[in-house]
C-alpha cells in the first residue's frame, strides 16, 4: 500500500481536528442543556475512525457505537444535519428521534450508532452479507469497544462472517474501559485479537496512531474487498473522559485519567506533520479556525431548526 501523500495527510489531520472540536463543542452545549439524554465522547480516540474511513466510499457501510460521533464525522456526515439531530430537531438526519446514541445517515452508509453494546456488530455483518449477496465490491466495518467483545453478538457475528468469508472489518477500539469497569475485570486476556483465533480469522493490533491504523485498515479492507474474508483489527487507545459526559470517574482515579490524557493521538500527529514539514504552525491555526467556523455554523443551524411537533410522533411507525 502506498504511503499517504501530503494532501491525504492534511485531510486526515483536518478530520481528526473536526472530530475533536465537534466533541468539545458538544460537551459545551450538553453542559448548558441544549442537548438531551446521554452524550458519550471519543476524545483521544480520533485516529481510528479517520484511519479506517479513509479507505471507505459512501457506498461502504459502517455500524458504530454509543461513542460514535467520530466514525460518523470520519465517514463524511454533514455536520449541520448531524448537529440538528443531536439537538433533537426535525431537520436532523433522524427527524430528532435518535439524538447522539442512534445517529444514522444512509447516504454515507452510516447504519447507525447503537445504544446496545455490541448491537451493531451483527448488523454490519448483515451489510457485508448483502454486499456479497448482490455481488458488489462494498465492504462493511463494525466498530466497538473491548467491552462489546464480552457480548454474544460479537462472537456470533465473527463466527458467521468467518464461515462465510464476508467482506467486513471488525474494528475494536480498546480503550481499556467498559463503561465503568477496567479491562482486567471483564477479560481474562490482554489482547482482543486473541479472540480471533477461535474464528480462524486474521487479526492485527495497532497503536493509536492514525498512520499505523490507516495502513493496517487498508490491508484489511483490501482483503475483504477481494473476497478473502473478515479481519479483526484492534486499536489500543485510551479513553480520556468518563463513560458519558458528567461521569466523575471516581472508579478510575485522577492519576489514571491524567495519564490517559497525556497520550494524545491528535497532538502526536500534529507534531509529526510539523516535524516532517507537511504543515507549518500557521497552517495548523488556519485548519483549526476553519473547522471551528464549520462547527459554529452547524450549531447555529441546529439552534435555528425546529423541534418535531408532538402531532408527528406517530408518523412512520408502520409503512
Amino acid at each position: 500500500m502506498s504511503k499517504p501523500g501530503r494532501k491525504k495527510l492534511i485531510e486526515f489531520y483536518t478530520r481528526m481536528v473536526r472530530i475533536r472540536k465537534t466533541e468539545e463543542k458538544l460537551m459545551e452545549v450538553f453542559s448548558n442543556g441544549e442537548i438531551l439524554g446521554f452524550l458519550h465522547v471519543s476524545i483521544g480516540q480520533e485516529a481510528a475512525p479517520v484511519g479506517i474511513c479513509a479507505h471507505l466510499s459512501d457506498l461502504d457501510y459502517i455500524a458504530t457505537t454509543h461513542r460514535g460521533h467520530g466514525h460518523a464525522i470520519a465517514k463524511g456526515i454533514d455536520l449541520k444535519y448531524a448537529m440538528a439531530e443531536l439537538f433533537g430537531k426535525k431537520e436532523g438526519f433522524c427527524m430528532g428521534r435518535s439524538g447522539s446514541m442512534h445517529l444514522a445517515d444512509k447516504k454515507h452508509g452510516i447504519m447507525g450508532a447503537n445504544g446496545i453494546v455490541g448491537g451493531g456488530i451483527p448488523i454490519a455483518t448483515g451489510a457485508a452479507f448483502a454486499a456479497r449477496y448482490k455481488k458488489t465490491d462494498q465492504v462493511a466495518v463494525a466498530t466497538f469497544g473491548e467491552g462489546a467483545t464480552g457480548e454474544g453478538a460479537f462472537h456470533e457475528a465473527l463466527n458467521f462472517a468467518a464461515i462465510k468469508k464476508l467482506p467486513i472489518v471488525y474494528v475494536c477500539e480498546n480503550n481499556g474501559w467498559a463503561e465503568f469497569s477496567p479491562q482486567s475485570i471483564h477479560m481474562p486476556i490482554k489482547d482482543v485479537i486473541s479472540r480471533a483465533t477461535a474464528y480462524n480469522m486474521p487479526a492485527v493490533q495497532v497503536s493509536n496512531d492514525v498512520l499505523e491504523i490507516y495502513e493496517a485498515a487498508g490491508k484489511a479492507i483490501d482483503h475483504a474487498r477481494a473476497g478473502k474474508g473478515p479481519t479483526l483489527l484492534e486499536v489500543k487507545c485510551d479513553r480520556w473522559h468518563g463513560h458519558y459526559v458528567g461521569d466523575a470517574q471516581k472508579y478510575r482515579g485522577k492519576d489514571a485519567v491524567e495519564k490517559a490524557m497525556g497520550k494524545d493521538c491528535l497532538l502526536n500527529f500534529e507534531v509529526t506533520l510539523l516535524t516532517d514539514k507537511v504543515l507549518q504552525k500557521k497552517d495548523i491555526e488556519k485548519i483549526g479556525a476553519q473547522v471551528q467556523a464549520e462547527i459554529d455554523e452547524a450549531v447555529d443551524f441546529a439552534r435555528e431548526c425546529s423541534f418535531p411537533d408532538p402531532s408527528e410522533m406517530m408518523d412512520g411507525l408502520y409503512i
Binding site: 448483515g126 452479507f129 449477496y133 454474544g152 453478538a153 463466527n159
Partner: protein
Amino acid sequence: MKDIRYIFAIKEAMEEEMERDENVFLVGEDVGLAEGSFGASRGLYDKFGPDRVIDTPISELGFTSMAAGAASCGLRPIVEIMFMDFVTCCMDSIVNQIAKMRYMFGNQYSVPIVVRMPEGGGLNAGPQHSQCLEAWFAHVPGLKVVMASTPYDVKGLLKSSIRDDNPVIFIENKTLHAMKGSIPEEDFTIPLGKADIKREGSDVTIVTASRMVHESLKAADALAEEGISLEVIDLMTIQPWDRETVFNSIGKTHRLVTAHEAVKQFGFGAEISAAVTEEILDELDAPIMRVGAPFVPASYSLEKFYVPGADDVKNAVRKTMERSF
C-alpha cells in the same frame, strides 16, 4: 384447488416469493441441507442453493441481527427460529434493533424482514419448547404479529408478510404443521391486519387465533347442540388487530370470549378485552371471559391438562351465557 399440509403451504409461500423476488432469502438453523427441522424448507436448498438458503451456526441473535442489517441494505430476509422459545435469544435483535430501525432513524432505513417460528405445545417438549409468546411482540411498537390457523391462511399470510415493508413476527403452530387443507393453485395473498370470521353465529363472539381457532370451532359444534350459537373470529394478525370486525361482531352477539394457547395473564385476550370495555362496553350484556393456559411453565408430563382446548372454550362460553349485567 389442491390439498396441502400446513407445513408445505409454508414452503410454497417461501418458494414462490423467492422465485418472484431475488432479494428474498431464507436463513436459520438447519434450513438448508436439513430442509428445516419441521420440513418447512423441503427442496429449497436444492432449488435455490446455499447463497439463498443459508444454514447458520446455532446463534439466533447473530443471524437475526445479520438479517436485519441485510434487510436495511435492500434484501428481504425470512428468518426461521426453530422453536418460538429460542426467540428469547434474539430479543435485542428484534426488540431493540429491528422494531426501531426505521422509526428511530427517521425513515432512512426500512427493515422488511419476516421472523418465522412455531409456537405451542403438542410435542410434550416441556417448558422450553412449548411457549406461546406472541403478546411479547405485540407489545413492541414497530412490529407486526401474524398467526395462521390453516394451510390456506398460512400461505396467504406468509406471502403478504414477505411482501410487507415492515418487520413481521410470523407465528406458526407445531400441532398444525401436519394439518391438510385446500388452497388455490394460483398465486394469492391474504391482507395483514384483517380478521377472518371462521364461523358466523349470534350468541357469543370468540376472538381467537392459531390452534385455538380449531378448538373454538369444535366448541361451537358442541354448543350448537345445546342451542348456543358461536361466532368464531380468527384474528390472524394480532398486531395491528382488526377492531372493526371484532367490534361489529360484539355489536351483534353482545358477549365476548377470548381464547389463546398462551397463558391467560397479559395475553392478547387481555388487550382485546380492555379495548372492548374502553370503547363499546355498552354493547356487552355479560362479563368477558378469557381462555388461556394456566400461569405456570408448560408441563412435560401434564401437557394435555396444561394446553387449553375446546372444553375450556365451552366452559367460558357457558359462564358468559349464565351471567348478565
